[in-house]
Amino acid sequence: MSNIIKIKKGLDIKLVGTPDKKLKEITPSGTFGIKPNDFPGITPKVVSKVGTEVKAGTTLFYDKYNPKVVFTSPVSGKVSAINRGDRRRILEFVIDPDGKNESETFRDDKPENLSREEIKENILKSGCWPLIRQRPFNIIPNQEVSPRDIFITAFNSAPLTSDINFIVKDDFQTFQTGIDILTKLTDGKVYLGIKAGEISNPFANTANVEKYEFAGPHPAGNVGIQINKIKPVNKGDVVWTLNAADVIIIGRLFETGTYNPMRIIALTGSEIEHPQYYKTLLGTKISALTKNQIKNNTVHKRFISGDVLTGEKVTENDYIGFYDTTVTVIPEGDKPEFLGWAKPGFNKFSFTRTFFSWLNPNKERVLDANLHGGERPFIVTGELDKVFPMDIYPLQLLKAIIIKDLDLMEELGIYEVAEEDFALCEVVNTSKIEIQKIVREGFDFAIKELG
């Protein structure tokens, strides 16, 4: 019934700290935060100033260049601070919850009773719009442009990430509602990428979508890879992408008329005592999860909002990123290693067989955030291609970005990729180049040039 696509290139990195399938609900306490930096290309304009009483779904700020795209509070409470950084750039909106769990009211209706404009209006107003992202450039889409298709990935393949099957298990009906809503927003199709070879996959019964099964190593679960295999993005195309978990938030909006950005977050990593899942809201403080969960040893810890491949280094006092469904804690690894490059390396992770860890490839390892070397120009060729399963030349595209040649970037496929698709390239790169950063810079440059 559905189509199976096999991904051959890629790499599954086995790490210690996968979460147990246990769910713990945490009641909203402490503060919540929304960080404008999570949305590349957005210039925030404040609506709710410090001291404003807000409900879930009350606008905190909007995008200066597209005022219809608003960003709302995840909980009811009071804006207690707007923290700014250099040049008064807004870093975060902090909300003190009042425990009332009130939400602004939005339209609740069946998808079939609503027009496309009404649906868009509702999603925009509630603050669900930023959950949707577009290719090219992996940014929040412009509401005036209808997408060619919508792509949703229903599994994570990156190491130490949440199991989406587990997340949607109890909310499958709401997920279906969300899908039904999304089908009304495109003239094309809604595609769902699911993991191949799972006997009881909850997504197998999803209606109104085109299903594709994906087999193979990471990045098989990346929506960008799936688009590339199903129906690639051409110049001039716009497609939308979503996480399956976020479809639920949209579904709930139309079922209940409330903004309830419930998130099931996986707390993972080798430095976590009991890795497992937590039910909470978008914008939760990291410490609300990690409190009493961090291993008590002298190892320096790195807190990551997101997964080990694409996340952001944060502190315990930061808030979980808008798009993140994982919080990871690994050793920082900020220690010099005597002649480290010359050791046999029985326990060092490498995609090559240059260390003796090839004797034991399936062992779950504890990896730290050390770079294991200095930055160099690109030297080795072919290593990126081995973990990049698109019909794109990754090294050449990166070089086109570095020399800021827009035509060449376009020709080499910049519209089809996102940073996350390059994450493994960055991991295996011998020259330790910040590849995902280069990709983002390429997007920023292209957006600026194309106007």
Binding site: D334, G340, S350, N370, H372, I379, L412, I435
Partner: protein
């Protein structure tokens, strides 16, 4: 090692910004990161776990892969020398003699090359790039043993400056630096790089040499074989004493005259196995190189007899003589100067193989073509990539047209 670590921590501030020796910061860093893999961790955004491999590890694997050829080369230098003076010296004396001859070349190459690199480290204020760790060992292995040391030094310095640093350092160069060094020597001091006398230690001086001893390489003998000789019993090549025929087996094992490290195909294949198993070098380039050389060699074999005696050399002899194997395994696979696309690597390697045979067989001047073939293809590698990438671009454009 804690003590050393503490010592480096203590003196480090002197080399940092506003320190006493700020100017030497990059030089200090080069030494520090050689001793200690740095404590630097992944940036705020991006991949937080990284492969343990770095350029130091990469280059040291290549150096390791070169060691069998180096050790064998040392022994062979001694063996050939004692053969020429008619002494059966035994394994250890052969090796020690070769070691004494070869080590100075290795040292001069490293000292001259790394010295130059450090000048650029100082000027560019950037940590040293490890590329020369490999080049520094490649250079001694592709020169004749009696090369004067000052020539090695001059060629190495020129190769590092004009072959690499003017382009921006390792990763930016167009030509393989070690081959460039050889090319400098070859065209600048041709007398010391070719002929029948340079390949065996002491032969030029001519002391104690047995009367009539010849130091011609097998490749040289192939090239100078006449029609009559070939017609009467095929290619017969002899060792220096003219007493024993050199067989395919001898060529493969490598106890023949030649550049220091290039003679033993067996040792080169051990190196190749290390490079391929660890995933450091491209098997596509190696394989297609051997295929290209075999294909053209075979084609020439199939041509009617009598055109050119060299055409008739069985193609598999080409693969084990001269620098073909060494060049394909260690020089053609240099990732920086070879084709960078996977399809391009097939074409690049194949053409190197073909060109080696063309230069060997059709060119009357010198019997070997590996160096020139690889340098030539270094120059053409970007062109190959260009066409491969254009094909990908066209495919992408076609997608739009199909839709429209």
């Amino acid at each position: 090692m804690k003590g050393l670590e503490k010592y480096f921590e203590k003196i480090k501030p002197n080399f940092e910004k506003d320190g006493k020796y700020e100017k030497w910061g990059s030089v200090f860093e080069s030494f520090e990161t050689f001793l200690f893999v740095s404590a630097k961790t992944a940036p705020k955004r991006g991949a937080h776990i990284r492969d343990a491999i770095d350029t130091k590890r990469l280059m040291s694997i290549v150096v390791m892969a070169l060691v069998p050829s180096l050790l064998f080369g040392m022994w062979n230098v001694g063996y050939q020398h004692f053969l020429s003076i008619g002494t059966d010296a035994g394994f250890w004396q052969d090796f020690v003699h070769g070691f004494i001859k070869v080590m100075p070349i290795v040292l001069v190459s490293y000292i001259a090359g790394l010295g130059t690199e450090f000048v650029f480290v100082y000027i560019k204020k950037k940590e040293i790039e490890e590329g020369f760790l490999v080049s520094g060992l490649l250079i001694p292995l592709i020169v004749p043993v009696d090369i004067p040391l000052w020539m090695v030094a001059v060629a190495t310095v020129l190769a590092v400056i004009f072959g690499k640093e003017v382009f921006g350092g390792t990763g930016m160069n167009v030509f393989n630096p070690a081959l460039l060094a050889r090319a400098f020597l070859f065209f600048g001091y041709a007398k010391k790089m070719s002929g029948d006398k340079v390949w065996i230690a002491g032969l030029e001086k001519g002391q104690h040499i047995i009367d009539g001893f010849s130091g011609a390489t097998p490749l040289g003998q192939f090239a100078s074989a006449t029609k009559e000789q070939v017609a009467n019993g095929g290619f017969k090549i002899f060792d220096g004493l003219h007493s024993n025929i050199i067989s395919f087996y001898d060529l493969f094992m490598g106890w023949i005259p030649g550049s220091i490290g290039e003679t033993s195909t067996l040792m080169i294949l051990i190196g190749a196995a290390i490079l391929l198993f660890t995933g450091v070098a491209s098997w596509k380039i190696m394989l297609s190189g051997f295929l290209g050389a075999s294909a053209l060699g075979l084609l020439l074999n199939l041509l009617p007899d009598g055109l050119n005696p060299y055409f008739e050399l069985p193609f598999y002899y080409h693969l084990v003589s001269g620098g073909l194997a060494f060049g394909l395994v260690f020089m053609a696979t240099d990732p920086v100067t070879s084709a960078q696309t996977e399809k391009g690597k097939w074409i690049y390697g194949f053409l190197i193989g073909v060109l080696i045979i063309i230069i060997r067989v059709f060119n009357p001047g010198y019997p070997e073509g590996t160096m020139l073939a690889i340098l030539l293809m270094n120059a053409f590698a970007p062109l190959i990539d260009y066409y491969i990438i254009r094909a990908n671009i066209k495919k992408r454009l076609k997608r739009i047209k199909v839709k429209a």
